[in-house]
Symmetry: C2
Subunit: 133 residues, 2 copies
DNA sequence: ACCCGAGTTGACAATCATTCTCAACTCGTC
DNA sequence: GACGAGTTGAGAATGATTGTCAACTCGGGT
């Protein structure tokens, strides 16, 4: 293997910083297009393609969570670095990160019971938050 | 209420039967396009738009499950009528329906803890099935 | 300061799944 | 056998996302 293939250099460009800042400025899930728009409002001119590329990197790096709306659109949100799930308000989008050993254990045992290995899972909870109730 | 608005008439057309049969012929998740193709192979000529429409009806009626692949494509599968989740093989797509009060309870309590009402959730488990291991 | 190559960017074209449009068609019924 | 509502299909339209590629920017030498 000739490939040491270290972390390929990542440059802190104006655009990347702008996206990172934008992501830090809201707590719910937003679509790439919305984020792009938000950048425009802030006066930070960033190409849509770049927004997509950057969000993808961030997602790969585990710095943002990606979800799919009912109609298949990808939405993003900054997140903590530990494994967790989301409790999302159907009406206003307010999001709470939740976690706990219960589900983790349950999914593992279900998988084991059927002989599945290398298990991972996705779990999202939707509801109406107290403020929207 | 003037609206008795009963089940709007649903006609058992050749196309709808064909799709229903097709859905019964496989046990994993397939995309609308794949299902359309499968119909073609079977000699049942059905328009793509109709396949989409029919799948949507079936999904609304709860007769098929819909999932989103990593890249946002919708995939369908016939399912039992009770609430359940899926254990899907990442490599061959083999699917097992799983259910249990544990998760249901966990999600409810999490929601309650944060004051969320009207809760629903989605949960999918991915892994490598025994045959693909 | 200046040069250079690799990593980046952006405008725009290209993809691709899904939905829309609407005239022609089919069912079950009268 | 005719009627009207529900259906269908071909193709256009939509909309998110990705690809293309020439121009640009960074940071490390020199």
């Amino acid at each position: 293997m000739t490939s040491t293939d270290p972390t390929p250099p990542l440059r802190p460009t104006r655009q990347r910083k702008a996206v990172a800042e934008a992501m830090a400025s809201f707590a719910d899930f937003r679509s790439a297009q919305e984020i792009h728009e938000l950048l425009g409002d802030r006066g930070e001119q960033v190409g849509l393609a770049t927004v997509y590329r950057t969000l993808q990197r961030l997602a790969d790096a585990g710095e943002v969570d990606v979800l799919r709306t009912e109609d298949g659109e990808a939405i993003y949100r900054r997140c903590s670095d530990t494994h967790h799930h989301h409790l999302v308000c159907r009406s206003c989008g307010a999001t709470v990160e939740v976690e706990g050993p219960t589900v983790e254990r349950w999914t593992s045992s279900m998988a084991a019971e059927h002989g599945y290995a290398d298990v991972s899972h996705t779990l999202e909870i939707f509801g109406t938050c107290p403020r929207c109730a």
